[in-house]
């Protein structure tokens, strides 16, 4: 019930916030913040109180299960395990960041904006907790619509195009997933005489490889678009670049992770054999993503576009690690998911702060910011170093674990992927140096208190995970 309460709470809060902004100007951001605090507390208390009863959520614990559409035996079933708790925590944390970065940036339709923000967060949480696959699909679509709206209404100059591209890419790919979902449910009917969309039921299915490989492919393509993996990545640079800051933070920080989550839960756990068979292809795509993303990032002149391409490179590590079927690599993938969520969110937030000051995203308009904004420069340096995997920060642990794990299984892939470390150093240097070093072009104000809060909280988390990764590694996250 608590999970439902949180999601419904977010939606109701969204509606309230929307109306409240019409009554009192400037109330929306405060109300959103308060409702996020309340609901996050509810979530934290719930998880802590129930962890003993549920054996620390090592296994998937079904918490709610009621019939929804009886004709197709579709249920409203929610569950939690360590993986989903981790991702929900990340989502809620970044939700705070999103509200904080939007504080000054959003100037029109403010109420409606926060409604969309809260709605998409509700949708994302739904994706992480749904264990009825149809319900999962429902939430998958729910999180998409407000996100599209955020890009289309509050984005930059080419927002309509970017929103449309984002929408079509995800729609077409999730159509494939829908086909795969219906086919699997139908297969369940054939095998057991009962239609079921219930995920734990599906885990018991014994699907012959010649069928499961196609079902797996349907899911895989949907998640590969979301992750994204080359060659299905091209919605991401446009969407990231055009979205408002909070949109980019949410996209990079969490929305991409729904792809990784889907790969873990609905590809690897659901179709283990087919995934193993498919691993060479997926690993190849992943390695190409790592190198191609790094190369494309180097070519960009737009701060946000550069970070967007770097995300493709980092998510390549996640996919490579997942398809190595190795414990260390799996842990690496999980840490990379969190680390990239934090570091890319930080870089996008920074891009927003710079945009707020000079009204440009182009690196050619930047340079020498360190002179007038040394604090911002320090943070930019650390976040860029996190992106290129400086040891001591979270991303290094993720990449190192991924590479160690992958090397044990697919050494050649690990070696080629390691070359991506050079590529990431190159784009990291370009990003940092062309914005903060060189001849000062603008005099900008240094970080304000609110911005300092955003940057330092993300920085502390990156360092904490980097130096004490046992914070996360002590959990198994449903490890294979």
């Amino acid at each position: 019930m608590t999970l439902t309460f949180i999601m419904v709470g977010l939606i109701i809060a969204g509606l309230l916030v929307w109306q409240a902004e019409n009554l009192w100007l400037g109330s929306a951001k405060w109300l959103s913040l308060i409702s996020l605090v309340l609901l996050s507390t509810v979530f934290a208390v719930f998880v802590l109180n129930n962890s003993v009863a549920n054996e620390d959520f090592v296994q998937l614990q079904v918490l709610t299960r009621v019939a929804w559409i009886k004709t197709f035996s579709i249920e409203y079933a929610l569950a939690l395990d360590q993986l989903s708790i981790l991702l929900i925590s990340l989502t809620l944390l970044l939700a705070f960041i999103c509200v904080l970065v939007s504080w000054r940036e959003i100037q029109h339709h403010v109420g409606f904006y926060y409604f969309n923000l809260l709605l998409s967060i509700a949708g994302i949480i739904g994706v992480f907790v749904a264990v009825d696959v149809f319900l999962f699909f429902f939430f998958w679509e729910v999180m998409l619509l407000p996100m599209t709206a955020i890009i289309a209404i509050w984005g930059h100059e080419k927002r309509q195009f970017a929103a449309l591209k984002f929408f079509i890419f995800t729609q077409v790919s999730s159509l494939l997933m829908l086909v795969a979902i219906i086919a699997t449910a139908y297969f369940h009917l054939l095998q057991t005489g009962r239609l079921s969309f219930y995920y734990p039921d599906w885990l018991l299915l014994d699907i012959p490889l010649e069928i499961s490989q196609y079902l797996m492919l349907g899911f895989f393509i949907a998640f590969a678009v979301k992750l994204p993996s080359v060659p299905l990545h091209s919605w991401l640079p446009d969407a990231h670049t055009q979205a408002p800051t909070a949109g980019s933070v949410l996209l990079a920080g969490v929305l991409l992770k729904t792809g990784a989550y889907g790969l873990i839960r609905f590809v690897i756990f659901l179709f283990p054999q087919a995934s193993v068979q498919f691993a060479p292809v997926a690993a190849t795509l992943a390695v190409i993503s790592i190198l191609y993303g790094a190369k494309m990032a180097f070519a960009q002149q737009d701060f946000k576009r550069l970070v967007a391409y770097s995300s493709i490179s980092h998510m390549g590590f996640v996919m490579l690690a997942l398809f190595a079927f190795n414990t260390i690599a799996y842990q690496g993938a999980i840490i990379t998911i969190v680390a990239h969520g934090l570091s890319s969110a930080a870089l996008f937030a920074l891009a927003g702060m710079i945009y707020h000051r000079i009204h440009s995203r182009s690196l050619t308009d930047m340079g020498g910011f360190w002179h007038s904004a040394p604090r911002m420069g320090g943070f930019a340096l650390v976040f860029a170093s996190a992106a290129f995997g400086l040891p001591g920060l979270a991303n290094f642990i993720g990449e190192f674990f991924s590479l160690v794990g992958v090397f044990q299984v697919l050494p050649a892939f690990a070696i080629v992927a390691a070359v991506g470390l050079i590529g990431s150093a190159i784009y990291g240097m370009v990003l940092f140096q062309s914005s903060f070093q060189g001849e000062p072009k603008h005099v900008i104000t240094d970080l304000q208190l609110r911005e300092l809060l955003i940057c330092s909280s993300l920085l502390l988390l990156l360092i904490a995970i980097g130096l004490y990764p046992m914070l996360l590694l002590k959990f198994s996250f449903g490890v294979m």
Binding site: G392, F396, F400, F401, I422, A425, Q433, M470
Partner: protein, 629 residues
């Protein structure tokens, strides 16, 4: 406990300086950074005593558990732990001792810089990373320090970031060393995969066990060890500016001079030497790689010596000289003369820091003039700096009695009969010594003899602290060779590497000692015009040769243009050509295709009856045609 705290004095100072930054006065910032360094020196001294008093000459301390790595052979625990033995003791003494003197110098030298606190903060952070590097008990922690010093080196080279050239030099240093680092990272992956361990002591034991076991090493293990050694060598070559990743070091001279002294002469660039010495048990099992190291060292030593002969910038001469001296260390390691290599590392840190700092004082006295051809006659005008520089050069040339003499002779003496080196490499080392003394003399004649080729008045910094730092370094350079360095516990296998049967000719040592004098004698006549430019008449006339060969040598023997052609240009070209993401364009063809249909269909709905009729007729004819066929 003292060991555990060693890097934290500096870390604390770094945090203070970076948080308060410009709010701190010069006095306060200088006191914080230098006194924290003094604490480090104190702690290291106490640690050295503790170490010699301890039973097995090893101190260990565990800070906290970092993570575990599972392997088929068992679980490997990776901790944030420090490990102090004879080798790391040498390193921490050099890092803290020389580091302290350079900090002291820098606090006065950089006084007028508006970002003084930030500068000292970076220097402190560098010491933190360097101490972690040399104290790490596992290779992952070592890698943390390794990348950390790389980042600090990047920050300090680009400290004056307003200049585009400094920014580019910093980028180049970071990316070139990163290539080496990546090789090292792959080496770690392979090492973990083959032995299931990354803890240095554990790896050493495992490697020794398997090589001493009855069956010996399997073919696969030997093969793996070969690759591990080669990949680690890649990392060492990047950090220590050896061929083929040496190109970043001369450009790194863009940083402030104390940085060049601390990072690009005394400490960071010797990290590669330290890595190989630390992992020597792996390298011993792979004589081929040892042989590569020896050759790489020898070739770097000669090429850098040649390049140093053609430089016009005083700091770049010293940079190439550093590269060449590290070549000696590599040569020693390759020959299996481990402790001689480490010994040279130590003495080189003394005299090269002295040379750089004195050069910095000279540059400062000449209002930031670095061009040798705009100096001259400085021995008279700056006698203090001049005489210290002479001391440094004497050690660099390894004249008998100086510290450089002891360490360099120790290396050269072991080359001839080593089975991974041999007479040919011995000759390379001798030729290198000859080159060293020639470029040292050229440098000295140009800068300190002849007549002054500048018009401004010199203003020598007379601060007592700054001068005492230089004097201590000079004393260390002169007498550092007498410091007893007993590394037999760390390198017990040293003597096994040499073949006693090979008879060493009796003239070897005589020739080795005489070589620098031959170089001096040669230079005395060959560079006569540098030393006596007053004879020429017009005193401003002296200029560097612009012949193509000299320019080629001055630009580092063409490596930069070669790499630019092979790697940088193609990568940039690819990035530029594919700026708009060809994959995206292919996908967007769909959109174009759909809008094409959209336009075509709109055109058909034009409301004119003739068009509809024609289309109707055409369609019927088509249908009929199809059905007939």
């Amino acid at each position: 406990m003292l060991l555990a705290s060693l890097p934290f004095y500096q870390l604390l100072s770094f945090l203070l300086l970076i948080t308060f930054g410009k709010k701190l006065s010069w006095q306060l910032a200088a006191i914080i950074s230098v006194s924290s360094m003094a604490l480090t020196v104190l702690a290291s001294t106490i640690l050295l005593f503790e170490l010699s008093a301890s039973e097995n000459q090893i101190l260990n301390v565990n800070l906290w558990h970092w993570f575990d790595l599972n392997h088929a052979l068992g679980k490997s625990q990776i901790n944030l732990s420090f490990y102090l033995d004879g080798l790391s003791a040498v390193m921490i003494s050099v890092v803290s001792g020389v580091g302290f003197l350079i900090h002291l110098f820098a606090a006065i030298y950089m006084k007028s810089d508006e970002n003084f606190a930030r500068f000292m903060a970076y220097m402190n952070l560098f010491i933190v990373a360097m101490l972690i590097l040399v104290l790490a008990d596992n290779l992952v922690l070592l890698y943390l320090g390794w990348e950390g010093v790389g980042l600090c080196s990047f920050l300090l080279i680009g400290f004056w970031y307003h200049e585009k050239n400094n920014v580019l030099a910093a980028r180049k240093a970071f990316i070139v060393t990163r290539i080496g680092d990546t090789s090292m990272a792959i080496g770690l992956l392979l090492l973990f995969n083959s032995f299931g361990e990354l803890n240095i002591a554990a790896v050493t034991t495992l490697v020794q066990q398997s090589s001493h076991s009855v069956s010996g090493l399997s073919v696969e293990q030997t093969n793996n060890i070969y690759w591990i050694a080669l990949l680690l060598l890649g990392g060492a070559v990047g950090k220590s500016a050896q061929l083929p990743l040496q190109t970043w070091l001369p450009d790194a001279m863009a940083g402030p001079t104390p940085v060049s002294a601390l990072i690009h002469a005394a400490t960071m660039v010797t990290a590669g030497v330290y890595l190989i010495a630390r992992m020597h048990d792996i390298f011993i099992l792979s004589p081929e790689v040892m042989n590569y190291i020896a050759w790489l060292g020898a070739i770097t030593l000669l090429l850098a010596g040649i390049a140093a002969l053609a430089q016009t910038d005083i700091k770049r001469v010293l940079a190439y000289s550093t590269m060449s001296q590290i070549g000696y260390m590599m040569l020693a390691l390759g020959a299996g003369a481990w402790s001689a290599g480490v010994f040279h590392l130590m003495t080189h840190a003394f005299f090269k820091a002295l040379l750089f700092l004195t050069a910095g004082a000279v540059i400062y006295a000449l209002h930031h003039q670095q061009n040798l051809f705009k100096m001259g006659g400085l021995l008279k005008k700056l006698p203090f700096e001049g005489s210290l520089f002479v001391v440094g050069l004497i050690c660099l040339m390894a004249l008998p009695g100086s510290s450089g003499f002891f360490s360099k002779e120790a290396i050269i003496a072991q080359l001839w009969s080593s089975n991974t080196a041999g007479p040919l490499l011995w000759w390379c080392a001798i030729l290198g010594a000859l080159l060293t003394s020639i470029y040292s003399c050229r440098l000295f004649f140009l800068a300190f003899m002849g007549t002054a080729r500048f018009s401004d008045k010199t203003h020598s910094e007379k601060n007592i602290l700054l001068r005492s730092a230089l004097i201590i370094l000079a004393l260390l350079s002169l007498f550092g060779g007498l410091i007893p360095l007993d590394l037999t516990l760390v390198f017990p296998t040293e003597l096994a590497a040499s073949i006693p049967e090979i008879l060493e000719p009796s003239w070897l040592h005589t020739l080795a000692i005489l070589t620098p004098f031959i170089g001096i004698l040669f230079s005395w006549f060959y560079f006569k015009k540098y030393r006596t430019s007053r004879v020429v008449g017009s005193e401003y006339n002296l200029s560097a040769s612009e012949s193509r060969l000299v320019v080629f040598c001055r630009q580092g023997l063409g490596f930069d243009s070669l790499y630019s052609l092979l790697f940088i240009k193609p990568y940039q070209w690819l990035a530029e050509k594919n700026k708009h993401d060809v994959v995206d364009q292919v996908i967007m063809l769909n959109a174009w295709y759909i809008s094409l249909w959209h336009d075509a269909l709109i055109m058909m709905q034009n409301g004119s009856l003739r068009w509809y009729l024609a289309a109707f007729g055409l369609a019927i004819m088509l249908l009929l045609g199809v059905s007939f066929l």
